[in-house]
């Protein structure tokens, strides 16, 4: 462990895809500032380090830890608690750690269904029906693999979190801005935002940043994006394709709608939104152009998977958190 006087930096991935790390590297030359200003002590994706090295560190000896990924198994939980203990500032970095993201969609299924899907479905070559075992004895000793929890939880459902940085992944320019801020704080030129703040994002919605033209919305039919040639000028939701802009926090610069695809909501709930999915559901359902229950139902058939649609990034962070079959014994 180096003791060069620089503040220590750590980054960890729990249940996540690794996209957050790539986004950090996408800050290009800004990554050199990280090296110039921090002593990187733990970052499994970028360098070799052992958990026991972290366990040996003094409490609160790491200044800044960016934690991405949700808590899916006991290893995730152990490291989350360990890094909380060792860090002064713990940031829930990216959508998984903040609100569950795509891995949290598994909260619609119980563990048996998840394992069965992974080990027995037609795309899996597993003639002996092998399943992962948490403990297994070999001549050399006992082997352990992490044990799954019934559901995926967000970081702040397990430990105390100082800041939240949304995005799947967070945009590189937002990461640069946050890194700049932390470096300025170290140099005494700036102050940290209040604890619990969402950093590296806006306070409004994606719609607010979107340049498309908006008129009165009234929808007779919901369409999937492959079923329609989208007009490049007009609001996507108006054209019958569900766009998550109305409920989603700004900060990305409305990248997807600008590129001709609907917003999928990766920046999470807009400021003061208690439950992302119900907010979006409310916005989408109210513009249905019908007052007849039967017709409304027929129009709603155009949304085959409402939970997946409205909670694509947010199920673990939502009010209900997981479907009943996932947690009910």
């Amino acid at each position: 462990m180096t003791t060069n006087g620089k503040p220590k930096f750590a980054m960890y991935w729990a249940a996540s895809c690794g996209g957050c790390e790539i986004s950090v590297l996408n800050t290009n030359e800004k990554i050199l500032d990280v090296d110039a200003n921090f002593d990187v002590v733990f970052w499994p994706v970028a360098m070799d380090a052992k958990y026991k090295d972290v366990e040996a560190m003094e409490d609160k000896s790491i200044l800044l830890t960016l934690f991405n990924g949700g808590i899916r198994n006991d290893e995730n939980e152990h490291i989350a608690k360990l890094l909380r203990q060792k860090s002064q500032i713990l940031v829930a970095f990216g959508s998984c750690a903040s609100e569950g993201c795509v891995p949290a969609l598994a909260n619609l299924s119980n563990v048996k269904e998840i394992v069965d899907t992974a080990y027995t479905t037609i795309s899996t070559d597993n003639p002996n029906g092998i399943r992962p075992q948490p403990n297994y004895t070999v001549p050399e000793g006992e082997l352990h693999i992490p044990t799954l929890y019934p559901t995926l939880r967000t970081l702040d459902q397990v430990v105390d979190v100082d800041y939240y940085m949304p995005g799947c992944p967070p945009e590189s320019q937002q990461i640069s801005a946050v890194l700049d801020l932390v470096i300025q704080v170290i140099q005494g030129k700036a102050q940290l935002p209040p604890k619990g703040a969402v950093i590296g994002a806006g306070v409004s919605t994606v719609c607010d940043e979107c340049k498309r033209k908006r008129n009165e919305k009234s929808i007779k039919e919901f369409k999937r994006i492959q079923e329609i040639m989208l007009d490049p000028e007009i609001c996507i939701l108006e054209q019958g394709v569900i766009c998550s802009g109305p409920a989603t926090r700004s900060g990305c610069g409305a990248l997807c709608p600008t590129a001709g695809a609907p917003c999928i909501g990766c920046y999470g709930p807009a400021e003061n939104t208690l439950d992302y999915g119900s907010r979006l559901l409310s916005a989408v359902a109210s513009v249905i152009d019908s007052n007849d229950p039967k017709e409304i139902d027929k129009i709603l058939d155009g949304i085959p998977d409402p939970a997946g649609m409205f909670y694509r990034f947010n199920l673990a962070g939502s009010l209900l958190k997981a479907s009943k079959p996932a947690w009910d014994k």
Partner: protein, 156 residues
């Protein structure tokens, strides 16, 4: 005290029709099940689906939503907006494992105290038959589970 399960039901009523229906039932001394806790909104269109999810998440066993009859809304057409949201919300709740029978939509005018009381009685029995939902008491998956019950030998 009986051992019968007494469901907790949150009822959302609008200021202009359904809350007055409840008022009417009260002033006329009609008896109905005491399980429903009413919350008055200005309009059923004010019912953010978040309220319903919060009620379930915090331990309600059922949610009653009530507003003016279609066409009678004090704010012209907001109860239609609630109707559309309600239909989509039921689909979402089904996916989350909440039975559609735990949520009910009742139209009631200010004169329909008897109908309102009757609907509440029917709904309370319907939820009672389903049993407790227990969402509020759930640990939401913080306890460990084993990956698989039966071990399988890994061939070398």
């Amino acid at each position: 005290m009986s051992d019968k399960f007494e469901p907790v039901i949150i009822g959302f009523t609008c200021n202009w029709c359904s809350y007055r229906a409840a008022d009417m039932a009260g002033t006329a001394r009609m008896k109905y099940a005491p399980n429903v806790r009413l919350i008055r909104l200005m309009c059923s269109g004010r019912l953010d689906p978040t309220f319903v999810l919060k009620a379930f998440a915090d331990g309600a066993d059922g949610v009653l939503v009530s507003g003016c009859h279609p066409g009678d809304c004090h704010y012209v057409e907001q109860n239609y907006k609630m109707l559309r949201r309600f239909h989509l919300l039921i689909r979402l709740l089904k996916q989350m494992g909440i039975e559609p029978e735990r949520i009910k939509l009742v139209w009631a005018s200010a004169a329909e105290g008897a109908i309102f009381a009757d609907e509440i009685n029917k709904f309370v029995e319907q939820v009672r038959a389903l049993g407790p939902l227990n969402w509020g008491a759930s640990k939401n998956g913080s306890e460990k589970v084993m990956v698989q019950e039966t071990a399988t030998e890994v061939p070398a």
